[in-house]
């Protein structure tokens, strides 16, 4: 009983771990964390191993491998040696999982956050939803290309302030 308690006490709590992961930045958009992005799906202790379950954003996103490495490194720095990163495909990642704080951070970084309710391709046009300029707030914007600087972004242009900007596609 005593040994079990000692072993348990030595393990950081799941809450602490989530808080530490909140400081791990996305490698492509460093203003938001992997937790803000909604790709950390689960954190749990399995005996002495910490299992972090991560879901990919896009299946070919080159950042996926870097993210796993950064999570491992961040946890090692906190003294957790035994970390297993598990990949989970289903349910598929959706931009609805991006936190409210994450959306705000994207916006102040100059990336228009995903538009609510437009969950997939075509929905923007079908629902007549507009993407607002993250700089001046104007809704007078146009899509330059549905594929931008990374798989998750589209290229937009503001017709009011004339600035080009990235739109984080709803997915």
């Amino acid at each position: 009983m005593v040994t079990v308690m000692t072993a348990t006490a030595a393990k950081p709590s799941i809450d602490d771990i989530w808080r530490w992961l909140e400081a791990v930045p996305d490698p492509e958009i460093p203003v938001i964390s992997v937790v803000d992005l909604g790709i950390v799906r689960d954190v749990s202790w399995e005996e002495d191993a910490l299992v972090v379950t991560v879901t990919p954003t896009y299946s070919g996103c080159p950042a996926t491998a870097v993210i796993a490495l950064e999570i491992e490194n961040a946890l090692r720095d906190r003294g957790i040696e035994n970390v297993t990163i598990k990949s989970r495909l289903s349910p598929a990642w959706t931009t609805r999982w991006i936190s409210a704080a994450g959306r705000e951070k994207l916006k102040s970084y100059g990336i228009a956050p995903p538009v609510e309710g437009a969950a997939c391709a075509g929905a923007l046009r079908l629902n007549d939803v507009t993407v607002s300029c993250p700089r001046c707030g104007s809704s007078d914007t146009e899509c330059v290309s549905p594929f931008g600087s990374t798989p998750c972004k589209a290229s937009y242009r503001c017709k009011a302030c004339l600035e080009p900007f990235d739109y984080f596609k709803s997915f």
Partner: protein, 251 residues
């Protein structure tokens, strides 16, 4: 049921993505405008990601310890199961785009059906890939309309591309014994249903693009069973060279 039908089916899904991604990647740095260059590279990247998911699963089904990389780099042309459409040369931008459009339409509706596959792993991969492919079809459909209904030059090029590629598209929606056996088990996409969805979509989109599909064109097929044109050999020679010359090389 044919031996290894599931292995073959999953290979087909993966090989279609792999060969098309390899073809599309060639445009990187050469597209007519920067936005298209980026779109082509992003599309290829999605397809490579999907390839890894499918081929990893194919390796597990086979049970001989082959990884996705082993299957991609160490098989000869005869063992590839991609359809003939995706190995067709890039040609001009119109031909590349039309090939993408014909493939995306089939891919989109097929993945839609596979999300409900009785095979849980197939359903999972389809759920992921379908979201990416919805964007692919959005783009290729849009551009086919804009270029088809564009200038006389762009219209003629798009019509020529459609005339050339149309016979290859039929292979995707023509079921063979692997499709039939797995459709009965609820594992594969029912190609009769996919065909009717693709046809309805094509009819509407091509009309908007002022393009007409050839009537009564023969279906050019064979890729699904490993009978390819010589083009695939050139693609593989380039793609596989390094692993063939330096087995196991990593960097």
């Amino acid at each position: 049921m044919p031996q290894d039908a599931l292995f073959d089916y999953v290979l087909r899904m993966g090989d279609n993505c792999l060969v098309l991604a390899q073809r599309v990647s060639v445009w990187c740095g050469h597209a007519p405008v920067l936005e298209e260059d980026i779109a082509l590279a992003n599309t290829a990247l999605d397809l490579i990601g999907q390839t890894r998911l499918w081929l990893s699963y194919a390796g597990e089904i086979e049970g001989k310890g082959r990884s996705a990389d082993d299957l991609a780099y160490l098989r000869d042309a005869r063992a590839f199961r991609n359809c003939l459409l995706v190995e067709q040369p890039n040609g001009d931008f119109g031909q590349t785009l039309m090939r993408q459009f014909l493939f995306d339409a089939w891919h989109h509706f097929t993945l839609g059906a596979l999300k409900n596959s009785a095979d849980g792993r197939i359903a999972e991969i389809a759920e992921k890939a379908a979201k990416e492919v919805a964007y692919h079809l959005d783009r290729s459909g849009d551009l086919v309309i804009r270029l088809g209904d564009g200038t006389a030059e762009s219209h003629n090029r798009m019509q020529a591309a459609l005339d050339h590629l149309w016979p290859f598209a039929g292979e995707l929606t023509t079921p063979d014994e692997v499709d039939e056996a797995l459709t009965q088990k609820g594992v594969a996409a029912d190609l009769a249903q996919v065909e009717s969805q693709v046809s309805a979509y094509m009819e509407k989109t091509l009309a908007e693009a002022t393009l007409s599909a050839p009537k009564d064109a023969p279906v050019r097929k064979g890729g699904k069973t490993g009978l390819h044109g010589e083009e695939l050999g050139y693609i593989l020679a380039e793609m596989q060279f390094l692993q063939r010359a330096y087995p196991g090389a990593t960097w």
